[in-house]
Amino acid sequence: MSDSDDPFEPRRPGTDPERESDGRGYLSVDEIPETAPARELDWATRLANATPSLPRLLKYAIAITVAVLWIVPFLGLFMASLRPLNEIIQGWWHLEGMTLTLENYQQAWTYRTAPMRRALINTLIVTVPAVLVVMLLGAMAAYPFARFEFPLKTTLFFLILLVMAAPPELVAMGNYNTLREVGLFDTYMGLILVHIGWGLGWVVLFLRNYLLGIPKELEEAARIDGASRYQIFRTIILPLSTPALVSVAVIQFTWVWNAFFFPLVFMRSPELYLAPQVLPLMRGRIQVEWGLVAAGSVMTMIVPVLLFLTLERYYKQGMVAAVTD
């Protein structure tokens, strides 16, 4: 900035005398800074800018309260899992004389009737195939609903929605009988099939919405390039659906992993029990072993949470795209 550029000297607009003849009033391209020039402010102004207004303050207060209400039970569970039983019984929020120990975790891990170690592996055995198959089948079913014209398309789609609305408790009896008849009762295969069946409905709906947002031209370009329908699905549609598929994976994983009702109905042998089934067993006989239950819960919970955290970025993309279209 030149010295003559005095802001207190009024200047009529459009009458820059220099600019008119020799162009000295114009800026050269080199003078444009890379980034916006930093404004120098004194601390009082900065403080004033940073202080929220009263309505804003109220909003913050409400938000913080809600957040605390949400987090307190988890905090309690976590604390309980780390402290001996006599301390928990007085209330986990008493902090004086606190002993932190991993004993609850050790006990739960090797619990005599149903060790958490085995239960977690069992749960994984059921969850992984139930998720992967639903992703693949769901995408294959959603693609025609999003792109092709075929007879009864709307009716079939409506049927899928209808099935989603049915309560699992109602259908469970039928599933139970079927599984008994085909000899899949009390097997992981049976439980996996039931999970796949229940998952497909929402997955098809979710992925169809997402696929509708993929530009048709991409497929037309691929057709012109000489790709077959199957090649288009495999090389264009599936890779482009990654965010949606990740969302499906995370949600379905959480759902299958935490499922209590289906394992309860369809799994009978204790050595095949899944983690959510094992938790109630840990209550103990005479006295409720709160610490043990808490440790088991944390161990069960941690797996979907970790999965969510690692895939969060894709998960958000997929959710946004599938819901907005």
Binding site: P215, E217, L218, E220, A222, R223, I224, G226, I236
Partner: protein, 396 residues
């Protein structure tokens, strides 16, 4: 596959024979009875306003749509039900349709890959085509990291790399800025000249059409208005509609009424019909009041007189001879290269292109033009050409 490699070597001519396309179970008529021939190695441009069915026509040739009626031939083979890959067409889409999850290299390699061309051959061709289009440096990038012009080149590269027999372009330049558009225009033209591939190019931009085409097809409302080389399109617009569509600004049309040997343009004056028509070899001597058989098929009473803005001259005094129409200057638009003067003639604005204007708003002026620059359109909006009466009519 073996068959298509043979076909690659040979260029292809395309014929559309009475092709119509209806959508929504007949509710929408996208194309109606298109008859079109594209020669081997020809650069054909389909020009028309948006929604005129030009893109549908292109998609019909591509094989993305099947005609509802009529036939499409590639050389002598009927290809109505052939898939795009069987037709061996390549297409560039308006928004390029690059695969966003693949690198530039993978994008260009895709058509070769799905056709099972071995990797060595693929590499060789990719190298060749990226060199041709000057995108060697971009090969590892994703489409999202490229500028509009670069994306355009990648889309072209993907289309050219498999050596198609027909090259289809759907408004390929419309997403580029003006400067880049001009650059790509000449580059496309050069490319087509070098490769000699039969090309159909769809655009709504008449400048693109005129500058690139061997033949221009003007379409309106799903049907073809005129097929001709660019120069002829300008010098002999077949209908009033084409006349209004081509040229910037488009042709002025004066609605007139035929009175004896002249055309009266409202209050603005009259034009001598005989001299205007005579230049084009039209027999204007027979009048419609005559009862002879030949006269009934002759010129109608309602005629339009068309003159292009660049063929009109302004004069502040009434000329002693020649064609002259009276008007009032409405607005003057200086555009640098020329000045556009809007003149109100008989309640209508007429555009006149002049070098520099020394007229002001409200001034009385006379518009003059030469006989050979005037076009006559009959009441159906068709150009009046040779003497119409003696010809055996087709029952129009």
């Amino acid at each position: 596959m073996g068959e298509s490699t043979v076909r690659q070597q040979v260029m292809t001519s395309i014929t559309m024979d009475g092709v119509s396309k209806y959508f929504d179970g007949g509710e929408t008529v996208a194309n109606y009875r298109l008859n079109l021939e594209v020669d081997d190695g020809e650069f054909l441009v389909i020009l028309g306003p948006s929604g005129c069915g030009k893109t549908t026509a292109l998609r019909l040739v591509a094989g993305l749509e099947e005609p509802s009626e009529g036939d499409i031939y590639f050389d002598d083979e009927r290809v109505n039900r052939w898939s795009p890959s069987e037709r061996n067409v390549a297409m560039v889409f308006q928004n390029y349709a690059l695969y966003p999850h693949m690198s530039v290299r993978e994008n260009i390699a895709y058509p070769l890959k799905v056709r099972g061309i071995p990797p060595d051959e693929r590499d060789r061709r990719i190298e060749e085509v990226t060199e041709l289009l000057h995108i060697e440096g971009q090969i590892g990038k994703r489409p999202a990291a490229l500028s509009g012009g670069q994306r355009q080149r990648v889309a072209l590269a993907r289309a050219i790399v498999r050596e198609p027999s027909v090259f289809l372009l759907d408004e390929p330049l419309s997403n580029l800025d003006a400067k880049l558009r001009q650059e790509m225009r000449s580059e496309l033209k050069r490319l087509q000249d070098e490769l000699g591939i039969t090309t159909i190019y769809v655009t709504h931009n008449q400048e693109e059409a005129m500058s690139m085409a061997d033949t221009v097809v003007v379409m309106n409302r799903g049907t073809i208005q005129q097929i001709s080389p660019p120069e002829e399109l300008y010098s002999r617009p077949r209908t009033e509609w084409v006349a209004r569509f081509i040229g910037s600004p488009p042709m002025n049309l004066f609605e007139g009424e035929r009175r004896n040997g002249s055309i009266a343009i409202g209050e603005a004056g009259t034009v001598d019909l005989e001299s205007v028509a005579g230049v084009r070899g039209i027999d204007a001597t027979s009048t419609s009041t005559s009862t002879s058989a030949s006269a009934s098929a002759s010129l109608s009473d309602d005629l339009s007189l068309g003159v292009r803005p660049e063929d009109l001259f302004l004069s502040s005094e009434r000329p002693t001879s020649g064609n002259a129409l009276e008007g009032t200057v409405d607005t003057v638009e200086p555009l640098g290269e020329y000045t556009l003067v809007n003149v109100a003639v008989d309640d209508r604005l007429v555009k006149v292109k002049v070098g520099d204007a020394d007229v002001t708003r409200g001034e009385e002026v006379w518009l003059t033009f030469d006989d050979e620059d005037a076009y006559l359109y009959d009441e159906n909006g068709e150009l009046v050409t040779q003497a119409p009466s003696p010809q055996p009519t087709e029952g129009r």
